[in-house]
C-alpha cells in the first residue's frame, strides 16, 4: 500500500463518520510540508517569487493527493460525498456501517464505522415505503438551522456566518428578519451577497429561506430594490418567505405592487407566512417545511435570542410514502407500529449524533460558545409524509389517525426524555410531523394529491373547495413540524386581486404558510387553483 493511501485511510480510521475535505486530507498526509507552504503563502515578508513557488508546491500536493484519493474512489473504498466552494471535493467512506478491510501488499487497515441499528425499518426501506433523508450525512449533520440577522451585523459578516454553517447542515438555513440587513445595507452590497449566496447554495446543494418580516419594514423602496435584485438573479436554491398579518399586505401595497408582477412574470413562488396562525419562523427546505412549536419559539425569544447565532431547528428526517404504505394493504395498527419503530430509530440516531457532536458539529460550538447548549435545545426530528390522498378510501381516516399517532409520538418522546434524563443523559428529544416537498420526491410514488379548480374569486366559496381547504387546515394543525398550502394561480390578474385573495385566505383559514405558484399562469385564462 502506498504511504499516501495509508495516511489517508488512517485519517478516516480516526474519524469514520466524517466527510473530509481534500485540503484537510492533504494536511493529514503531509503535515509539515503543508504548514511550511501555508507559512510561505501567508508571510507578508515573502517575496513574490517565494509566494508563487509556494502556490505551485500547494498545487502539486493537491494533485498528488487527489491521484490517490481518486484511486481509492475507483476501488470503492471512498466516495466523493460533496463538492464545496470552488470545486473542492469532500470524501467519505463508501460504506454505511460495519467494518471495512483494505489490504494491499502485506499492509492491512481495518476501519470500523459505528453501527446504528436501523433494522427496525429496513423491511420498509427495501419496499420503498420508508426513506432516510441524506443517509450519508444523517449521523453527522443537522437538517436545518435558523440564523438571526440584525441591522448592526453587516451583510458581509452575515454571509460569512451562513457560509460557515453550510458544511454542518444537509438541507436548509433560514435567515430570520432579513429585512433588517436589506434596510441597513446598500442595494449593491445586498445584491452582491445574494449572488454569492446563489452560487454557494448551488455548490453545496443547500436551500436558504430568506424570512422577511413585514412588521420590520420601514423602507419599502430599499425592499423593492432587493426584490428586483432577487428577480434578476432568480436563485434556484433560495426562497423568500414573507411573514405577515393580512392587514400588513394592504399597508405594504406598494411593495406587493412590485413583487406580484415581478414574481408572476418570472414564475417565482410567493410564500406568505400567516403570523396570526403561527408565530415561529417557517423555513422551506428540500425535504419540506421546518418550524418550531409556538411555546418553544416563545421560550427561545424570551431566554435565548441574542445569546446565540440562532438555533438548530431539525436534526434528522425519515420519510414515509403513505400511498405505497396503504396500497400494500397496511392496517392502522401496522401504521402505528411503523411510527413507533421510526421514533425508536430517530432516538438511536440522535444518541449517536450527540455522542459524536464534538467531531461533527464543532463549528456550531465555536459560533455559539458559551451558549451552545441553548443553540441545540429546541432541535427536533422529523417524520415526513409523502403522497397522502384524503380522497382515497384507504386514507380517509388519515387526519384522525395522524392526530392520535402524533399524540403517541409526543408521549414516546416525553417518556424517553424522562428516561434519559433520569439516567444522567439530559437532552431534549422530540419528533415533529410534516410533509415532503415535491423536490425531494424522486424514487417515491407518483403524486396523487387532490386538485380543485376555481374559475373566479367566488369559487373560493364553493362547498367542494371550502371542504378541501378546511381539510388542509385540519392537517396543518396535525403537522406541527410545518405545513404549506400551495395554490397554482393561472390567468390574468392585478396585484390588488392577488392581495385580496391572500387576505381572504389569511382571514378565513388557519393555514400557516400559503404559497402562490405562478408556474402555470400562462395556461387557461381563468383562475385555477390546485391545492396540495
Amino acid at each position: 500500500m502506498h504511504p499516501t493511501e495509508q495516511s489517508i485511510l488512517n485519517k478516516f480510521k480516526q474519524e469514520p463518520l466524517r466527510e473530509i475535505s481534500t485540503t484537510e486530507l492533504i494536511r493529514a498526509v503531509y503535515p509539515e510540508e503543508y504548514s511550511r507552504i501555508i507559512r510561505d503563502i501567508d508571510n507578508e515578508f515573502s517575496d513574490k517569487k517565494l509566494t508563487r513557488k509556494a502556490y505551485q508546491r500547494k498545487a502539486q500536493l493537491h494533485r498528488k493527493t487527489l491521484y490517490h484519493l481518486n484511486k481509492l474512489v475507483s476501488e470503492g473504498v471512498l466516495k466523493v460525498s460533496s463538492v464545496h466552494g470552488k470545486g473542492e471535493k469532500h470524501f467519505s467512506l463508501n460504506m454505511e456501517e460495519g467494518e471495512l478491510v483494505v489490504e494491499k501488499k502485506h499492509k492491512k487497515i481495518i476501519i470500523s464505522k459505528p453501527t446504528i441499528s436501523t433494522s427496525l425499518i429496513e423491511e420498509y426501506e427495501s419496499k420503498g415505503i420508508v426513506r432516510k433523508f441524506d443517509p450519508d450525512g444523517w449521523l453527522t449533520k443537522l437538517n436545518c438551522i435558523l440564523l438571526e440577522s440584525s441591522k448592526e451585523q453587516g451583510i458581509n459578516r452575515f454571509y460569512e456566518l451562513a457560509y460557515n454553517c453550510f458544511p454542518e447542515i444537509n438541507d436548509a438555513i433560514g435567515l430570520n428578519n432579513f429585512e433588517q440587513l436589506v434596510q441597513s445595507n446598500t442595494p449593491g452590497n445586498t445584491e452582491e451577497v445574494l449572488k454569492r449566496l446563489d452560487i454557494e447554495t448551488k455548490d453545496h446543494d443547500r436551500i436558504v429561506s430568506i424570512i422577511i418580516n413585514l412588521k420590520g419594514i420601514s423602507d419599502q423602496s430599499r425592499m423593492i430594490d432587493f426584490i428586483k435584485a432577487f428577480v434578476r438573479i432568480k436563485p434556484r436554491n433560495i426562497n423568500i418567505i414573507f411573514k405577515a398579518e393580512s392587514k400588513e399586505l394592504k399597508s405594504h401595497e406598494k411593495l406587493f405592487a412590485n413583487i406580484i408582477p415581478e414574481f408572476s412574470r418570472e414564475e417565482l413562488k410567493l410564500n406568505i407566512h400567516n403570523r396570526k396562525v403561527h408565530e415561529a419562523p417557517i423555513i422551506l427546505g428540500k425535504a419540506g417545511p421546518y418550524t418550531l412549536r409556538e411555546e418553544e419559539w416563545k421560550d427561545y425569544e424570551e431566554k435565548v435570542r441574542g445569546n446565540t447565532i440562532g438555533l438548530a431547528i431539525a436534526d434528522t428526517t425519515i420519510i414515509i410514502d403513505i400511498h405505497r404504505l396503504f396500497s400494500s394493504g397496511t392496517s392502522i395498527n401496522e401504521f402505528r407500529k411503523l411510527m413507533q419503530k421510526i421514533s425508536n430509530v430517530l432516538l438511536k440516531v440522535n444518541m449517536s449524533k450527540n455522542k459524536k457532536a464534538g467531531d461533527h458539529l464543532k463549528k456550531f460550538d465555536e459560533l455559539n460558545k458559551p451558549n451552545t447548549k441553548q443553540f441545540f435545545a429546541y432541535s427536533r426530528n422529523y417524520i415526513r409524509l409523502w403522497n397522502y390522498d384524503l380522497a382515497e378510501k384507504s386514507q380517509e381516516h388519515l387526519p384522525e389517525l395522524l392526530e392520535s399517532t402524533g399524540q403517541e409520538i409526543k408521549a414516546f418522546c416525553s417518556a424517553q426524555h424522562t428516561i434519559y434524563r433520569a439516567c444522567g443523559i439530559p437532552f431534549g428529544f422530540d419528533i415533529a410531523l410534516s410533509t415532503v416537498m415535491r423536490k425531494f420526491s424522486a424514487g417515491l410514488s407518483q403524486r396523487r394529491y387532490a386538485k380543485a379548480t376555481i374559475r373566479s374569486f367566488k369559487d373560493f366559496h364553493q362547498p367542494e373547495t371550502m371542504s378541501q381547504v378546511q381539510l388542509k387546515e385540519k392537517l396543518s394543525r396535525v403537522f406541527d413540524g410545518g405545513d404549506r398550502t400551495r395554490f397554482f394561480r393561472r390567468g390574468e390578474f392585478t396585484h390588488q386581486e392577488i392581495l385580496r385573495e391572500l387576505a381572504f385566505l389569511m382571514n378565513t383559514y388557519e393555514l400557516p404558510l400559503i404559497t402562490y405558484d405562478f408556474k402555470e399562469r400562462k395556461g387557461e385564462i381563468k383562475l385555477t387553483n390546485f391545492i396540495e
Partner: protein, 217 residues
Amino acid sequence: MHIIKNSAMEAWKESLRVISEEGRKVIDRDKRLSKEVLNMSLTITEPCSDILAPIEAMKSLKKWAYPELDELEDVFFKKESSFIYYYTYGSRIFSYADAKNQVDGFIIPLLNKDPESRRAVVMIYDPLVDSGADVKETPGLISIFFKIIESRLSATTVIRSNDMFIGWPANVYQVYLLQKYVAGKLGLEAGSITTISHSAHIFQEYDEDVKAVMAKK
C-alpha cells in the same frame, strides 16, 4: 425510611412497594402525578450479585428504549463535557469546573494515604452552575461518598430527585461502576452501595409497569 437488602433487585422492589403503598401524592410543574417518599435510603450489601437485574427488568418491559450499558458507562466516565447535553456526570466527576479530576486526583490518592479518611467525597452538583431558578436541567446525583470498611470499598450516593422506577436502576449501576473503578485502583473489593434519595418518587403513568416489575421473581 431505610431498606437494607442483599441484592439490588430486592432493594429496588421493596422501595417500589413502599412508595406505592405509603407515598404521598404530588403534582409536579409538568402536571404529572406521582407518589413520593422523602429521604429514602437503600443499602445493597452485595451489589455485584445482581447489579444489572433492575436494568434488565426495565428492558424486558419493551415499552421504551432504555439506554444501553455502554451509554450509561460513557456518560459517567467521559471527562469531556458535552455541548449538547445540559450536563454530564463524567465531566463533573473527572473534570469538575474544567479543573479537577475528583477521582484520580483526590479520592484515590487520599484513600491510599489514609484508608480511614472520611473526606472521600465526589461532588457532582455545582451551585455556581445549577443553583439558578431558570436553570432547565440540573443533575439528580449530588455526591458520592467512599469509605473503606473492613478492606471493602463502600459507596454512598445522595440523589436529589430520584425517579425510583426509571432512574434508580441506571443510577445505582453507574455508581457501582465508579465504585469498582476506585476499588480496583486501591486494590480492594467493592463493598456495599447506599443510595439516599431526597425525593424518591414514582410517576402514576408507570403504575402498571411498576406492578409488573414487583411481580417478577
